[in-house]
Amino acid sequence: MRPDESVERVKERGAGGGFGAAPVAGAGMPVIQLEDVWLTYASKRADVEALAGISVSVEANTFVSFIGPTGCGKSSLLKLVAGLFAPSRGSILVRGQRVEEALRARSFGFVFQDATLLPWRSVLGNTELLLQVCERAPAEREQVARRFLEMVGLGGFLSHYPRELSGGMKQRVAIARALTLDPDILLMDEPFAALDAITRDRLNLDLLRIWSQARKTVLFVTHSIGEAVFLSDRVLVMSARPGKVVADIPVGLPRPRSLELVESPEFIACARQLRHLLAEGAVYDGSL
């Protein structure tokens, strides 16, 4: 059958290409383990193969980006990891346990491309939402929400409504909301894709600052090569549909990172490598 054949090809590619080795930093049990994950869903015309044999393991407290063309199943991958739906095949383990366990332990914080704030709630109210779900006391809710809103720089906008905020500010609220339950794993689905370049740079810097304060495992989906290199410890390059991981690139740039880094030869070399891989990934898919 075709599926098995594709797996072989991915494996071949991973070995032959010479960039498949997973980074050894932070030995111990990986936080997230995907084993040969497939996702097929039924659409009107035919079954659509979204993901084809993804095997990835992510060490604790690392920042991992997924980059790839539109429709390669990156967003689906995040929702699979969070257990929002089940893979057609393969297994996903979080801290060695089934996803359902992690879901019950509230291990995941989600940030989407659209801030998905509730228009009828103030900034503070939106940030308290998940704490409310967990039935925390009102005083504690407010205290926690305030703390994270201050962390994302919105301490002065507690009673504003979403329609009064800029796109960047809305995403800051979404990030604060995702952090309120102190999840181990932050799942970010193109969170800054809709923002202008200047706002995006600033949010990238702030995200790294927040991440250094509250160390978490981050899975970050993006279309932007620069963003992926700037933020990540590791970048996974995906091919067009059906999505496969075609390369696994460690980013060895020193931390803390500042915007000047973008002009360094190491950064440029890494970005160039990714650009080539993305172009290759597209050709690779076309040859199937």
Binding site: K79, A82, G83, L84, L103, R104, R106, F108, G109, F110, F112, D114, T116, L118, P119, W120, L129, L130, Q132, V133, C134, Y161, R163, L181, L187
Partner: protein, 262 residues
Amino acid sequence: MTEASRRAGGYLAPFLLVLATIVAWEVAVPVLRVAPYVLPRPSAILVELGRSADSLWGHTVVTLREILLGFVAGSAIGIALAIVIAQSQVLERSLYPIIVFLHTVPKLAIAPLFVLWFGYGLLPKVILVIVISFFPITVNTIYGLTSVDRNIIDLMRSVSASRWQILRWIQVPNAIPYLFAGLKISVTLAVVGAIIGEWVGTDAGLGFAILISSTQLRTPFMFAAITIISVIGVVMFYLVAVCERLLIPWQEPRDVTRTVGV
């Protein structure tokens, strides 16, 4: 132009239009020699409103009670039905056709049936108002409950939120603007429902008054009753619109004529 004078100008234009129409009507009836029993002049209607005030008031109270009871009960039923249907696709698929069927049955055709079942009193009218007014509320509310951003639901599920929590904090607030769109349509239908109910069998109410006055060629009285019915409809519509404004402060303030859709 200042904001205040611009707003005043916004109200002035429709007022002048209504006034001009009434004046034109007043002048046209004698000029075109229209018989008063065919089309009375606005002034004659006004005189009739004053002369028959007692009798008209009695009819108004009866009709108003039917409308209010029916509308409140219809809204409650409509909302409850929407919440039930929004819970699952199976429920939606099984209940929706029945509701659409109930809505498409001509109300005038089933009104006599209600008289047969529930007699000549208040009840058959209230039931007719319920049947005619719940549908837009149900359809709109279902849409509001189910048109929630997929990602928000996923966000809630990612922290193991219960169905009840999602309904209460996400779906219901999301449905409120849609609910009000439905209420605005329903409130005008409720007026129609009460009048139809009265035509089929009763001895009081504005619908009854219209029916009787038409057989007696008391056209000014008929127009007086029609005027009251229209005023009830318009006032109730704007009351709903005011409630909407008060209950949905998070929506962008819009031009009143656009909110209200007149």
